[in-house]
Assembly symmetry: C2
Homo-oligomer: 312 residues x 2
């Protein structure tokens, strides 16, 4: 069994990825720095480690000697992560982790990137074609990490890929994010105040995202790969589905919040590489994913009062 | 007196920059990690610190509370720095330093960049015009640092500029680099084996470079600024001048070494920003700078047998 190390393993995507990887036969080790969230999956070894402590990271990597590395951990506090100085800490910590991984015999690194690395336009973002012109410290930091890591990996003979995530929803989502906030408000019997919702986005179920990452890290595809559904939908349509499944369309207030002037009309992904080269595609329709997600929220999950999540 | 912190202060450029800054009335603090090189300038406070030790860096910055920061320190071992994994360590250490600087009230950061961040073509590199397509881990790392730092500085309200260095020569140059290697070989009475030397480069005297950085960091010009002479010269011409001043044109062997197939025919700088916005220009002709440099080598400086220099 090949050993894989997953960082951010108690995070939104990471907690699903460890399951997807175990299903594929990997010996899975996960890291977490969370003191509030614990994830227990039979057969997965979890390590509590501070990724900013390079000595501790080096010791952990030396003891596990993973062949593959799937790096999700990052600062992801909704609203704040776009411009937080903590993005710099994560660039530094990630580079240090990759150095340690390569030093101890690691063969392949896959890092979670973001659609915020692209210049957003009316057409779907295509890897190596759409210009990379991030406008936020978050996007700039992720792109900087990707470019340095790619060149480093070539130098040391390590395989490298970056999976660019677009928009996600699903179980364990931070309640301050879009689908989770609409679903949880409606299920509490509160109004959900939204923009008019004409923005088109590529939304993917987090379990699909995790499964696509598992397929990507198990493959030898290198470079940037969009991890997305390939289908765009208006936010208003998504909110309307959520309201319907929650049984409270009466509480949905589209247009109650003004749209930000710099809100991109469309953020879409081309998924040709993911489908043709990685060989992964989703069969789950958006409506089914949303229905399941609302049901998950309904099954009594109480959103934390002060959401804090440090991994994507 | 405004306080400025200069990293790599015993390095090739740094050791001249601290003098240029003191002349401009700054209270100059320098850092070095060198255990072999010591530079003593009256009135300049030198600190021996490991910039990879973020706790020590934070402590130092908190105690000095510099208003300006001029960051030269980097891995610069000739031949090796282009593709060394240590570039990653310097990206991480630099980001950590900038965080500490901003936290403790710093107002302006200037970092040493490189012409290797540009795509090299037949025309002079112009800031914000010439594409940034670095081909080496060194150039990629410097560009990544620049883009993250620029965005970070905007977020935290710190002024930021990057001075892109082209080609340098002058006293205390590492003897493995171009002008120093030709000069020291000839002065030892050995042959200097060179390529045919048709490559055109922008060469600048290190004291001019340091003075231009001092002017840049003292100004409020932001973004990328080329630090160069604006004049291109063939390597063969430069080597011929050096041989003439060394009195040993008989020992110069142009064409004795094959040129690398990926050697750029020209690497030139547009210095409009430096001259018009920073207000700095050089009056020192290349021939005069080379003559002085050969004289400096001649005055009995013995090149170290095992050159090691960790700052630009």
């Amino acid at each position: 069994m090949e050993t894989i190390l997953v960082t951010g393993a108690t995070g939104f995507v990471g907690r699903q990825a460890i399951v997807a990887l175990q299903r594929r036969g990997f010996e899975v080790h996960g890291t977490t720095s969370s003191t509030t969230t614990s994830v227990s999956v039979a057969g997965v070894t979890m390590h509590h480690v501070d990724l900013f402590d390079s000595v501790a990271v080096n010791r952990l990597v030396a003891s596990i000697r993973p062949v593959r590395l799937l790096h999700f951990a990052w600062y992801a506090e909704p609203g704040l992560f776009w411009s937080s100085a903590r993005n710099l800490d994560w660039v530094a910590a990630s580079l240090s982790l990759f150095r340690a991984f390569a030093t101890h015999g690691g063969a392949r690194i896959v890092v979670a990137g973001t659609c915020a690395e692209y210049e957003w336009g009316p057409t779907a973002c295509v890897e190596s074609v759409t210009p990379e012109r991030p406008q936020t410290l978050y996007g700039i930091s992720k792109l900087a990490l990707q470019s340095v890591s790619k060149s480093f990996a070539e130098q040391v003979g390590v395989s490298f890929a970056c999976g660019r995530i677009f928009f996600l929803y699903g179980p364990h989502e931070n309640p301050a994010r879009f689908v989770a906030s609409v679903a949880s408000a409606l299920l509490r019997g509160e109004v959900a105040r939204c923009t008019i919702g004409t923005q088109v986005r590529d939304f993917m179920h987090v379990t699909d995202c995790a499964d696509a990452f598992a397929e990507l890290v198990a493959s030898d595809v290198s470079g940037v790969v969009n991890i997305a559904s390939g289908v765009g939908e208006r936010l208003s349509t998504i909110a309307t589905h959520v309201a319907e499944y929650a049984g409270r369309p009466d509480l949905l207030r589209l247009g109650a919040v003004p749209m930000s002037p710099n809100e991109a009309p469309a953020i879409l992904a081309d998924v040709t590489r993911l489908e043709a080269e990685v060989g992964w595609s989703s069969s789950r329709p958006l409506t089914e994913g949303l229905r399941e997600t609302v049901a998950w929220w309904q099954q009594g999950f109480k959103p934390p009062l002060s959401p804090s999540r440090h991994s994507a």
